[in-house]
Symmetry: C2
Subunit: 316 residues, 2 copies
């Protein structure tokens, strides 16, 4: 096992053999990798599913992210979507496309990132299948599954006037980390992240996955994961629920907390007076109307991160 082996030089079969032992097992896997398909337990009689791609360029840069970061972030962001339905994550499938001249250690690092993110954020969840391809563009495609354990899914459409708006997880940290990375330009991020902890919030976020189930059990009326920023995602709950979400600026924080994307924290609404579960803290109140308010005033900023606008290929 030498460090100059590439995916192309060892071939698909050998590369897969190097990845599989590093991937986390899923407690729910009845038939795991190796056949035409996996078979996963769905004791609830339903399963929750979400899919997402991470593309080199718009979604990450190898100058900044380690392979471990890529696996970690791909797992974390998809687990957050499962959690945002009030479900318990059970399994992931992972399709990877890498340039043929990629070192095998790239795949190993990505696999280790999946393993560690599952262990840290959703114990018992694991990788039950995958696909490995060659591509000029490094691409991760993740599909994640969860079980509702008999509960109703928590949708975006159930918020009612009078509900408490609450969030679990950080606000604006991932955007602050991205800003710091941009301020320092294209460089090795290793040294920077050692003295700027917010960079880790961008490169390897730690969303509060377990709080999704706790929110559902506590009667959350709506929930989503904050991928595009608090203001933009709150507007989605407002639209789906035909209400307005009035955020309290003293509880939210500044502009980066309102507009910064990629935290993958959980935004939920709870009946007034509910005891907020887990790490949830109140940040506002649902009112009649439409859209997002801050301290009672309409808030119109677009916010968030649009890869169609924000990605500049020339920056690498």
């Amino acid at each position: 096992m030498t460090s100059n082996e590439t995916v192309g030089s060892v071939g698909e079969t050998a590369a897969l053999a190097r990845i599989f032992p590093r991937l986390p097992n899923a407690d729910a896997a009845l038939v795991g990798p190796g056949d035409d398909a996996a078979v996963i337990a769905a004791p609830d009689g339903r399963f929750v599913v979400t899919t997402d791609m991470m593309i080199h360029g718009p979604d990450f840069r190898l100058a900044w992210s380690t392979p471990h970061d890529l696996g970690w972030k791909a797992a974390a962001s998809n687990l957050a979507d499962v959690a945002a339905m009030g479900a318990r994550p059970t399994a992931l499938v992972v399709a990877l496309a890498v340039p043929a001249d990629s070192p095998v250690t790239l795949l190993e690092g990505i696999a280790d990132g999946f393993r560690d993110a599952c262990a840290a954020l959703a114990p018992g969840c694991g990788v039950v299948g995958g696909d490995l391809s060659v591509s000029d563009t490094l691409t991760l495609a993740i599909t994640a599954f969860g079980d509702l354990d008999g509960r109703a899914p928590v949708l975006r459409s159930g918020a009612r006037a009078g509900d408490t708006i609450a969030v679990s997880g950080v606000l604006g940290h991932a955007a602050a980390g991205l800003r710091i990375l941009f301020e320092h330009g294209v460089m090795d991020a290793t040294e920077l992240r050692s003295r700027e902890p917010l960079v880790d919030a961008q490169l390897a976020p730690r969303p509060p996955i377990g709080d999704g189930v706790l929110a559902a059990q506590a009667g959350a009326t709506s929930m989503l994961d904050l991928s595009d920023g608090l203001a933009l995602d709150a507007r989605r709950i407002a639209a789906a629920s035909s209400v307005a979400l009035d955020l309290d600026s003293a509880l939210v924080g500044g502009r980066e907390a309102l507009d910064g994307g990629e935290d993958h924290s959980l935004l939920a609404t709870f009946p007034a007076g509910a005891v907020l579960p887990g790490g949830f803290r109140a940040i506002g109140r649902v009112v009649a109307g439409a859209g997002v308010l801050v301290d009672g005033t309409p808030y119109e900023s677009r916010g968030g991160w649009d890869p169609y606008e924000g990605w500049n290929g020339a920056l690498g």
Copy 2:
């Protein structure tokens, strides 16, 4: 709606709005696209899942495949993996990454391909979620689901000496179509496929999806879908089952039928004397030993299609 609109010019939200109405609905969708995740019925208490990527270059060329072909083939090949477990396909999730300058009609064509493949090959199955990204490399990542309706999954490991080897679907047609395309070089394939029907077997295969459930109901002892060619895939059943598969050349056909990949036909073994269901026809017998035999003689050809070896970027 003009033909020079690109994904980048209309933006992600508008592009998605153009795709969604074209996608097939899934009967099993309890919560469809639009929330953090979908919720799918799994009446069996388990679900079958497979994932696969199609990459521009190694897996397809826009010079040959229409957008409709891409959606069709992505659906068909993943549905075949579900069918090969003996499961009934219920749903797909689809992640697409396209160059920003792609016409929106590319996405519409892909969506129509998914719709038509589901309708033709697995009625009731549909698309329950997805993701749209920008990438320099056109990439489709598909994850497909199925329900076992209370049956045991049909694995690769259950073949026993004495079993009948049977296949449903064509053998070598996709490889013949690819050979014809290569012989004619890089060109518009429209005219060629009108006079060479085998080209359609490569660009828009029609695997016998419904025969997967029929095989399971008829007691199939092992099954897989022929993605890498009969000989290579038969070797996988032989290895997983610790037996040898002896193919009858008079029933199989020539070298292209043995070695050609991408037919996505179903290869299965049945107890001796079983009445073969659906489109299955006998092509040999399981015997004690190892590997694949043809007329009793070991067959060693590698066969199949390895994108690490077969893809030449210069050919476009």
